[in-house]
Symmetry: C2
Subunit: 196 residues, 2 copies
């Protein structure tokens, strides 16, 4: 059996996902978000693009069957399974600035941004290269009339998961999200498995 790796609460990891490999991301305890970003392993200026992906999918809610595109309009991965059906692709990772501006914290946590950067830096990624992430299990309510957004507790329960399949060799960054509102004010781990 393939071992499930654990991302501890409020932390992040980076790893390589080869073309054709599948990644299973599991909400181990429920109501926990994972910020996900990826780069073309062989040319890291090519990155996951919310704008291209939403434009080609004709929806802001990506799920099973959708292709995820890079800024160069190449398919980076495809979502193969999704037991939740609600994720966010509008927002940047929480950061020191998020905690300062939105939460008013005086000694802010480095957030998913800082965790992604720490994990991705050894692979040559700089902070300015971290774009809008695909925020797995994040539940952002959008009012189509007013535009108003509202961060709600995730719809995911313990054991819920998504599976994506890489369409190119990817450098992946992923977190167990560090922002209170995103996770219903309780920080939990995220599990993942790389399947051949």
């Amino acid at each position: 059996m393939i071992q499930t790796k654990i991302i501890p609460p409020r932390s992040g990891v980076a790893f390589i996902l080869r073309k054709g490999q599948r990644l299973r991301v599991e909400d181990v305890q429920g109501e926990q978000v994972s910020d996900f970003v990826c780069f073309n392993l062989n040319d890291k200026a090519e990155y996951l693009s919310s704008g291209r992906t939403i434009d080609y999918a004709d929806t802001i809610f990506l799920t099973t069957g959708h292709n995820f595109y890079s800024n160069r309009s190449n398919i980076m991965f495809r979502m193969e399974e999704d037991t939740v059906g609600r994720h966010d692709f509008l927002l940047t990772p929480c950061s020191e600035d998020t905690f300062r501006i939105i939460y008013g914290h005086e000694k802010p946590h480095r957030g998913c941004f800082g965790n992604l950067l720490a994990a991705l830096e050894p692979y040559g990624i700089k902070g300015d290269q971290i774009p809008v992430c695909f925020n797995i299990f994040m539940h952002v309510d959008v009012d189509g009339r007013t535009g108003k957004i509202n961060v709600l507790p995730p719809k995911s329960k313990a054991g819920d998961h998504v599976v994506i399949e890489a369409a190119m060799d990817l450098l992946v960054g992923m977190t167990a999200c560090a922002a209170e509102k995103s996770n219903n004010f309780s920080f939990k781990p995220i599990g993942y498995q790389i399947l051949e």
Copy 2:
């Protein structure tokens, strides 16, 4: 009187907007979109961020009074006037790939992406640095329940405009949009003025 500069249909420009200067963008004939992007003139790795801006404004529809943030969470500009009230901040500029993938064109136009790149390249900007744009006057319907998006004709009429005020020295790229659906299938110019 300050002269109005004209961006001809399906083309783009780049220029410098100094801190404190105001930029007036006018839909000269009505129903025409302008893709807008900007960079910190003094450190061009800092760029306009849809994800930061939406997160801090709590809305996907930005208008008068909203601050627009960079990827580093600094305020780049503030919207001072808006006679339309509906713009898009979800999508990347139309490109050769957009015309190929969405429109099925065999000899695709270079789109706003190509026009922005041509205008910004002399300032040292590369294609991979062009992010999700603030698409002035673009009318993207969003269904908050299903997530489905639909590009509709702009709500702007001849003479409608927005005014923004720069909060730092900016390198600005701006187009008269080249995509059929965005402009109700008729390509028109965009006017702009730099006000002190």
